[in-house]
């Protein structure tokens, strides 16, 4: 009787030690350094780095969402991004907190620029070039339209323009042309 109990305890003990060490090893060997969901959420966000969500960039907001922050705080991403976030987080979509605006790009009226570099310091993606007392200009391809450069400008010479419609970004509309003509049949 005692022997069988001892055997049971011993067996379970060995098993416990075995699996425990296995788990312990795995937790070190397969350790995930960063929560991968943050990366995924960051990839969904539009990367304007505008701070409209109240966080200093898209990554911090992604981190915050992972920690339970609301998903509706990204007006540049709009409804589409919110829905993607809802899907990824497995939560109900929420009404967007803020207004969805068309995509904009900053433009410096260069004759009014006094070269104060304030906008350069404000730009989160280094899309403005220039130096002290020299005219500044926006690299429009790199501009995310975050509007962070507008407020610091002492001469109010930065405009936010809608992105011009060109043959490159033009979308087909369904004003279709006839594809049906008289057949021989």
């Amino acid at each position: 009787m005692i022997i069988s109990i001892a055997i049971a305890i011993l067996t379970l003990g060995i098993l416990g030690a075995l699996f425990g060490s296995l788990l312990g090893y795995s937790s070190i060997r397969f350790k995930v350094k960063e929560d991968p969901i943050v990366e995924e959420l960051d990839a969904i966000l539009p990367q304007t780095q505008c701070g409209q969500c109240g966080y200093p960039g898209c990554k911090p907001y992604a981190q915050a969402i992972a920690n339970g922050e609301e998903i509706n705080k990204c007006p540049p991403g709009g409804q589409a991004v919110m829905l993607q976030l809802a899907e990824r987080m497995g939560i109900e979509p929420q009404a967007l907190d803020g207004e969805e605006k068309p995509k904009l790009v900053a433009f410096i009226r260069e004759d009014q620029c006094i070269g104060c570099t304030k906008c350069i310091q404000a730009c989160p993606v280094d899309a403005i070039i220039g130096s002290t007392r020299q005219m500044h200009t926006v690299i429009s391809d790199e501009c995310t339209g975050c509007e962070l450069c507008v407020a610091p400008c002492p001469t109010d010479c930065i405009d936010m323009n809608p992105i011009a419609l060109t043959t490159q970004n033009w979308q087909w509309d369904l004003n279709r042309i006839p594809t049906k003509i008289n057949t021989e049949l």
């Binding site: 490159q168 979308q171 594809t179 003509i181 021989e184």
Partner: protein
């Protein structure tokens, strides 16, 4: 054989092709051809319109211009420089550059692109074409460059730059000349072959020299027997010295056999893998019109300045093919071909299957425009109403790319981009066969075009977001690094200072020494406590407090008199203040002495100490008062010079002083408001104000605090009023400066100055507003 890349055509396959074997592609449709209307008459010259509009922008890129407005140009003169892979654009007739501006492009969007507008002179003088030597002696790189400089793009419809296609010449086995012309109505290539067969063969010789293929196939649909005949006749007449085998292959008429991938399948039986280029199979395809242009460029030295355009459709009284100068307005051609315009006249560029409609005729002919179709309503009726998909599967049968158009339709409608990718939307050639067979009149291709554009946009945005993410990350890293560097630098500087100090004091650490002294003192006093009364340190502390109080009182006295209404008798007041301070200090010292009197018998040292402290306090008070006096004498001077201005300056300074110590040393000069030494007065007043405030708050429990408080309140009120005034002034200054800036007559330097002044004024106004809040 085994060393060849697996994708390349094998010798057996080439042998099969040359032996006459033909394949076919999946699906395809037979739309009514409607080619007879235009195929009968010879190509004529369309003539010279008054204005030629030559678009030079390509995919948002504008090359460097070689001409400017007002320059005379000749036919064939280059208008642009080579820019990247873009071809050069040429003037297509002689005249004067009338404008370089945005004009509507021949594109379904109808959006404007940068164009050169030439006002023609009707003389059509051309540049002296520089006929090259025998092209057979030239390396293919030179010929490819010549082709780029001649502005040759694929004339079949897509407009892909030909030199790019030709520059992948390694391992090319098969050159296919695309003369299928499968789209209904269009007969431009048909007429070209009938009339210029010999030139086409010359062009083939050039391409053969560049590409060195083993086999050349000219593919012609069997609905163009005259063209085939003309080619064969020319071939017999010419003694071509080709190393490669040349075959004229008649293929069955089936739309869309003229599409690159479908024609390759017909000729070789091989499908071009998705996302691969035919050159990877060792195949290059060129349109027959392009071959003609290559001949003109390489053999005759003529750049591409015109192309053959089919003008057809029942709404045109005259029909046929015309050699049209690039940039000719379509309206000019419609007038020439006598458009019998009906209401809501439809204009289709390209064929009825793949073309697009344009809304007006004020659009120029481009290099890719092979047909202008002006149909009547009977000919091409308005599209019937779209109905729901009945899932008949006809579209899947017709699709030449073996896609599943139904699935693509659903996912296009639901904008499911992942699924569209799964179903290979990108393989769709937009031939329109599916829509052609659809019994529900669903414009399938339009849905695909929309979806393709959306996917493209989404891809662009994803790319941009990724770039932005990386740039933001790099910036953050850079700022972090800068911070660390700065801290390290500060630390280093501090160390250096310490080191220098140490060296200066003969290697002795003063701070350490001071600390040691302090410790020793403490130990001493601790030891002294045993023998002396506990009152000693207390009395010393009391003396210190008295000193501080005396100082503060002196300051308060001095400051309370430094109001804006300050008059010339300030020094007197200050003297009084100093006297009061002295008296107070004395009193304090006396009190100290009194408090110490009971312990005087025990320690004779203490009263002496207190007296010394009192003396120091007096001296300090005196000094403070003197400083005060100095600073106020400035104001007094100011007052005498211009009391009003000085008062303004002082008030400004008071406003500044509200920011207290932080703002004390800031440059607060207000150039517009106090022109005569305002900075000094402002700084002095700011210091005075800050001191007064400090003193007032410290003296809150002093008996004379009511007077100080009253004075402070008064000053506050004045400052507030003045701030408003100042803000107004600042706002006006901003406005004035902006006005000045906008003044076109003022010089650039003045402009700049005014702007800076405006910016400063604005910043100040903003600051003041913030302070008010």
């Amino acid at each position: 054989m085994t060393t060849q890349p697996i994708n390349l055509l094998s010798e057996e396959q080439l042998a099969q092709i040359s032996s006459g074997k033909q394949w076919t592609f999946h699906g395809g449709v037979h739309p009514q051809e409607n080619k007879i209307q235009s195929s009968g008459s010879a190509i004529c010259d369309a003539g010279i319109p008054e204005f030629l509009v030559i678009g030079i922008e390509h995919k948002g890129h504008s090359p460097e211009m070689l001409v400017k407005v007002g320059d005379p140009v000749l036919k064939g003169q280059a208008l642009t420089k080579v820019y990247g892979a873009m071809v050069v654009q040429h003037a297509s007739s002689s005249g004067i550059v009338h404008a370089i501006e945005k004009r509507t492009d021949l594109h379904p969007s109808g959006l404007p692109v940068l164009s050169v507008v030439i006002k023609t002179d009707g003389l059509d003088r051309s540049i002296a074409y520089n006929k090259p030597d025998n092209f057979r002696d030239a390396p293919s790189v030179t010929l490819i460059e010549t082709i780029q400089h001649a502005g040759i793009v694929g004339l079949g419809g897509a407009g892909f730059p030909s030199h790019l296609k030709l520059s992948h010449s390694d391992g090319i086995k098969l050159l296919i000349i695309n003369a299928a012309e499968c789209e209904p109505y269009i007969t431009a290539d048909d007429r070209l072959m009938q009339e210029h067969a010999q030139e086409i063969f010359q062009g083939i010789e050039v391409l053969e020299h560049i590409l060195q293929p083993k086999l050349i196939v000219i593919a012609v649909e069997d609905n163009k027997p005259q063209a085939v005949e003309a080619l064969q006749l020319a071939l017999q007449k010419m003694h071509l010295t080709l190393r490669a085998e040349l075959i004229i292959r008649t293929i069955p008429t089936l739309y869309p056999s003229g599409s690159e991938k479908q024609l390759i399948e017909i000729i070789t039986g091989r499908q071009t893998p998705l996302g691969k280029h035919p050159t990877e199979l060792g195949i290059v395809m060129q349109n027959v019109g392009t071959v003609f242009a290559v001949k003109e460029a390489v053999v005759d030295g003529k750049p591409l300045t015109s192309r053959i355009v089919t003008l057809t459709g029942d709404a045109l009284r005259k029909k046929g093919n015309a050699s049209v100068r690039i940039g000719t307005p379509i309206q000019y051609l419609l007038d020439k071909y006598q458009l019998n315009s009906e209401t809501a006249q439809k204009l289709i560029i390209g064929g009825p299957m793949m073309g697009f409609s344009i809304s007006h005729g004020d659009i120029p002919v481009t290099k890719t425009c092979n047909c202008i179709l002006a149909p009547t309503v009977q000919e091409i009726p308005a599209p019937s109403a779209e109905m729901s998909c009945i899932r008949c599967g006809e579209c899947a049968h017709a699709c030449p790319a073996s896609l599943l158009p139904q699935q693509l339709l659903w996912y296009s409608q639901s904008k499911d981009h992942d699924k569209l990718d799964d179903y290979n939307l990108s393989a769709c050639i937009e031939c329109g066969a599916c829509a052609f067979v659809c019994p529900s009149n669903i414009p399938l291709v339009e849905y695909y075009r929309v979806a393709k554009a959306e996917i493209n946009t989404a891809e662009q945005e994803a790319k941009k977001a990724e770039t932005a993410r990386i740039r933001h990350k790099n910036r953050e890293a850079r700022l972090e690094q800068a911070k660390i560097d700065r801290q390290a630098k500060h630390k280093q500087a501090a160390e250096k200072r310490k080191q220098q100090l140490k060296e200066k004091n003969g290697g002795e650490d003063l701070i350490a020494a001071a600390l040691a002294r302090a410790k020793a003192k403490k130990a001493d006093s601790a030891a002294g406590e045993n023998s002396e009364q506990a009152d000693t340190p207390k009395s010393a502390a009391a003396a210190a407090v008295a000193r501080a109080k005396a100082k503060k009182a002196a300051l308060a006295e001095a400051a309370s008199e430094s109001s804006a209404t300050g008059t010339a008798d300030k020094p007197k007041n200050d003297a009084v203040a100093a006297a009061v301070a002295r008296a107070k200090a004395k009193k304090a010292a006396q009190a100290q002495q009194d408090s110490q009197s009971d312990v005087a018998e025990e320690t004779q040292l203490d009263p002496k100490k207190a007296a010394v402290a009192a003396a120091i306090a007096r001296a300090k008070a005196k000094k403070a008062a003197q400083a005060q006096q100095d600073s106020q004498s400035d104001i007094a001077e100011e007052t005498q010079v211009d009391p009003k201005k000085a008062a303004v300056a002082a008030a400004v300074a008071r406003a500044k002083a509200k920011k207290a110590a932080a703002q004390q040393n800031s440059e607060t000069a207000e150039p517009e408001e106090a022109p005569s030494d305002p900075k000094k007065a402002a700084v002095a007043a700011a210091v005075a104000k800050a001191k007064a405030k400090k003193a007032a708050s410290a003296n809150a429990d002093q008996p004379d605090n009511s007077a100080v408080t009253a004075a402070r309140e008064k000053r506050k009120e004045q400052a507030r009023l003045h701030k408003q005034e100042k803000q107004q002034l600042a706002n006006e200054a901003v406005k004035n400066s902006l006005d000045t800036a906008l003044d076109k007559n003022s010089t650039a330097a003045e402009d700049r100055k005014a702007k800076i002044a405006a910016a400063v004024a604005k910043a100040k106004a903003r600051q003041t507003a913030q302070k008010d809040q």
